[in-house]
């Protein structure tokens, strides 16, 4: 598509990624999972910008690898003998009688290892799909999409996100400064010498930030009378409580029927009304909001489509999704899952390229 470079709506990327994650959750077929990860990776490679968070994808890949490795390790340590194809046998550690049912080391079977591998890959693939969304869309821009009534809470989260790296920086600075006083003291004493200046610093910064936000018009109430504001807040909180009770009532079979669906529906309506009512009083505008156009719709549909195709496969040919472990079979790639992978990768070509910013000079980036 010969579209001009622009940032794609963060909501579209998240819907797409959630669709992919759903698709990954429906299968343990390593070929399908690897292809889904590859599709996500291809889209990230084609469409991520050059902002700091865009580099996070590599981190998620590494995390995925770690998950797979730890799954395998657990299978080996805690008895991997549930199969006929024993690959090797480790010396078993005898455990006392009260630990019956747990085994340390011993024979390791191919079936157990593969089942651990499939499980790990599935979890890793889901995580990597969400990582792709993180790399493609600025998480802070996503927070800006919260309903107007929740704006204050959203800003608090944004501020907390920016304070965290500052805190880490502060810890490094104070630790370095400790050396200047001889760096004496261990344990609690040293901890106190680092924590106290850091916390005092963090408190000072928070106060400065709060003063700055206040002076720049944050949380301007306008002319809304206080009772109206309180009523909006009460509706939201009460509604959310109702939703919680309703969900509990639905899931727990022993609670009376009346506590289930009716309370859930009532709570939902109250919360929505509170959000709308509260949102109306807030007068605020958005600077250069990301538009939602055709590519965004297509991206979201691609994610949903990939998920739906795997659901369809489960109904048509479940063997494609869950390769049999006994007897051991080679996993197959069916037509529908293959189609799902193609659909998942399509946004890499359907969306406009990200805008190119002037690179940050090297000497200030450090």
């Amino acid at each position: 598509m010969g579209t001009l470079p622009r940032a794609v709506h963060p909501g579209a990327w998240w819907l797409w990624a959630l669709g992919l994650a759903t698709a990954a959750s429906r299968t343990t077929n390593p070929i399908v999972l690897a292809l889904i990860v590859a599709a996500a990776g291809a889209v990230v490679a084609r469409r991520r910008g050059d902002a700091p968070w865009a580099l996070a994808f590599r981190l998620y890949l590494m995390l995925g690898g770690l998950i797979v490795a730890s799954r395998l390790l657990f299978r080996v340590v805690f008895g991997g003998g549930g199969g006929v194809h024993v690959l090797f046998t480790l010396p078993e550690v005898p455990l006392p009688a009260w630990a019956a049912g747990i085994r340390l080391f011993g024979p390791v079977a191919a079936e157990e290892l593969l089942s651990g591998l499939y499980d790990g890959i599935r979890l890793a693939a889901m995580l990597i799909c969400l990582g792709a969304a993180n790399a493609l869309a600025n998480p802070k821009r996503l927070l800006k999409l919260v309903p107007a009534a929740l704006y204050e809470a959203g800003t608090a989260v944004i501020v907390a996100l920016s304070v965290a790296p500052q805190l880490a920086e502060s810890v490094l600075r104070v630790r370095r400064a400790r050396r200047l006083r001889g760096g004496a003291g261990k344990g609690v004493h040293a901890l106190r010498a680092i924590l106290l200046p850091v916390l005092a610093d963090a408190l000072d910064r928070s106060l400065t930030l709060a003063a700055a936000m206040d002076s720049r018009g944050y949380a301007r109430a306008g002319t809304t009378p206080r009772p109206v504001r309180l009523a909006g807040g009460a509706l939201v909180v009460g509604g959310l409580l109702g939703v919680c009770v309703g969900v509990y009532g639905l899931l727990d079979a022993t609670t009376p029927r009346a506590l289930g669906l009716p309370v859930l529906a009532g709570g939902g309506v109250a919360a929505a009304a509170g959000l709308l009512y509260g949102g109306r009083r807030v007068r605020r505008s958005r600077y250069r909001p990301d538009p939602w156009r055709l590519p965004e719709t297509l991206t979201a549909l691609c994610g949903a489509g990939a998920g739906a195709l795997l659901f369809a496969t489960a109904a048509v040919d479940p063997a494609d999704l869950y390769p049999s472990l006994s007897p051991l079979t080679w996993p197959q790639l069916g037509v529908l899952p293959a189609l799902a992978v193609v659909v998942a990768a399509a946004p890499g070509w359907l969306t406009p390229p990200p805008p190119a910013f002037a690179p940050v000079p090297a000497e200030v980036a450090a």
Partner: protein, 533 residues
């Protein structure tokens, strides 16, 4: 535009009001400078303008403050955001968003300005302050001067009628300070905005101000033209001191004014030589560094620096923000990274020693001295310092009393004034009696009196044979303090020599007195006074 009607502010638990019975009116398009010693209520006065005092800080405000007809009693800061723009002391800590463009738009979003207007104003402000090329840059990667200009831009987009700035240039190098001041004067002259500025370094802003509000120290405000007030005030920039010595009335505020009147003074000084400073110690090399390289990833902060520090000599380390001064000091002390080169102090490399031994050879006071303090009282800090340095009990307290007499022992270190806190950290570091002392930006936030006292302390240490390095942006401090000046740029030493040789002819580093009396090599008003008496 701004009206104070018999305003007094008293903070909870304070014995006396911070400002008392202040009545004044600031008109439209005035550049109003607020000056006074530390702790006389400059910040209180500024924060009262947009209602941060008392809505945010607490305390009791008597009287009435109105801005553009709005009473701060009924309007908290957020309801005044479209009239008053407030820029605090440390711009980085006041940023809410990540990038320059979002920061400029933030205030407008809160004021519900329609999107097309918002877009236009952001573009105009980017151009007005000359920061258009920074628009997508993360705020944390900007230099100090750029951050200050972005902070000003972020309040300007709301088209306020008043802009309030708390010490906008105190952390900046001379050139960046000029940039910020140019931006401020442009607001006043081109846009007719009323600007209220508090600043310790009067030499940087006094000449641009239309009016001076001088806080005398007892809570009252003296209000008038800058030259009239500075003629008698307890604080004065060097150029005014020179004017007092030469008997010029009213005293000059700009180098140009002074230079036009300085002909006779130069003639009187023709036969005199500036006094040479007495050197302590025997001039032996206290610390020798060769080919020092410091790098962070791909960024090289210090590029192969050779430096000798001699006992009894005060070296001023200058250069713009980010030129590698701090990195070099930390590398010399041994606590910071050093990728190449050697450092020898007292026959050993401090980086290879235990921290407790390293600080006996090289002491460093970092840019944020409070990082070193972690106890509840001054007394406890002093006792801990004695233990850490294995010094006799009471040594740190004795040093502290020598540096800043009369600090109560039960005071919390965070409640001390900037000058007192610096004295405490200096005493803590001196307890280990290092023959080499490194000071990183020590005078940030100090007023003239505290700076004068600091100069005396450092000269005294040098007389007793300590080799001292002071990294600083303050050219007037350098003129009064340093024997030798080292200028760094891009991690390299670009100039190194006696103070007079380096600073007198430099357009950025020359102190005011040198600019006025050029080509005669006078550095400070005190030197001139001594020669004439």
């Amino acid at each position: 535009m701004i009206e104070f009607d018999r305003v007094s502010v008293t903070y909870a638990g304070a014995g006396a009001p911070a400002i008392r019975d202040v009545t004044l009116t600031v008109g439209e398009g005035e550049l109003c400078l607020v000056a006074g010693h530390t702790g006389t209520g400059k910040s209180t006065l500024l924060r009262a303008v947009n209602g941060l005092v008392p809505h945010f800080t607490g305390g009791t405000l008597a009287g009435r403050v109105t801005v553009d007809g709005r009473d701060t009693r009924t309007h908290p800061p957020r309801e005044l955001a479209d009239v008053v723009g407030y820029v605090g002391q440390d711009p980085l800590h006041g940023f809410v968003t990540d990038t320059v463009e979002e920061e400029l738009a933030y205030g407008l979003e809160q004021l519900a300005v329609p999107a097309p207007v918002m877009r236009k104003r952001v573009e105009e402000t980017l151009d007005l302050l000359g920061i258009a090329d920074l628009r997508h840059r993360p705020l944390r990667t900007l230099s100090g001067g750029q951050q200050q200009r972005v902070a000003i831009g972020a309040v300007l987009t709301a088209h306020p009628r008043v802009v309030v700035l708390d010490e906008p240039t105190s952390a900046l190098d001379p050139t960046a300070a000029e940039d910020v001041l140019a931006a401020i004067t442009r607001l006043v002259h081109d846009l007719g905005i009323t600007v209220l500025v508090a600043e310790h370094r009067l030499e940087r802003v006094a000449h641009a101000a239309d009016r001076l509000l001088y806080l005398a120290g007892d809570g009252t405000v003296v209000d008038g033209p800058p030259a009239d007030i500075l003629a008698t005030a307890a604080i004065a920039p060097p150029i005014v001191e020179l004017g007092r010595i030469a008997g010029w009335s009213p005293p000059p505020l700009s180098v140009r004014d002074a230079r036009r009147r300085a002909g006779p003074l130069r003639d009187r000084l023709a036969g005199h030589e500036p006094p040479t400073r007495d050197h302590g110690g025997d001039g032996t090399v206290g610390l020798r560094a060769t080919d020092v390289v410091v790098r962070y990833g791909r960024h090289v902060a210090v590029t192969g620096v050779d430096l000798d520090l001699h006992a009894g000599t005060v070296v001023a380390l200058m250069g713009r923000n980010g030129s590698g001064k701090s990195s070099l000091l930390w590398a010399l002390q041994g606590a910071g990274p050093r990728q190449r080169g050697t450092v020898t102090a007292g026959g050993a490399d401090p980086a290879a020693l235990k921290p407790a031994d390293a600080r006996r050879r090289v002491g460093l006071v970092p840019q944020t001295p409070a990082d070193l303090l972690y106890l509840d009282t001054v007394e406890a800090e002093c006792a801990a310092a004695d233990r850490e340095a294995a010094a006799s009990a009471g040594r740190c307290r004795a040093l502290l009393d020598g540096l800043a007499p009369g600090i109560p022992g039960d005071r919390h270190p965070r409640d001390l004034s900037e000058g007192q806190r610096l004295a405490l950290v200096l005493a803590v570091q001196l307890t280990a009696a290092p023959p080499v002392l490194l000071l990183d930006e020590p005078t940030r936030g100090l007023d003239y009196t505290a700076k004068h006292r600091f100069t005396g302390i450092v000269r005294d240490l040098a007389r007793r044979g300590t080799a001292i390095v002071v990294a600083t942006h303050d050219v007037e401090l350098v003129a009064a303090l340093a024997d030798r000046v080292v200028v760094m740029a891009q991690g390299e030493i670009v100039a190194d020599g006696p103070t007079a040789d380096i600073v007198v002819a430099s357009p950025t580093f020359a102190p005011q007195v040198a600019k006025v009396l050029h080509p005669q090599p006078w550095l400070t008003a005190a030197d001139v006074a001594e020669a004439l008496s």
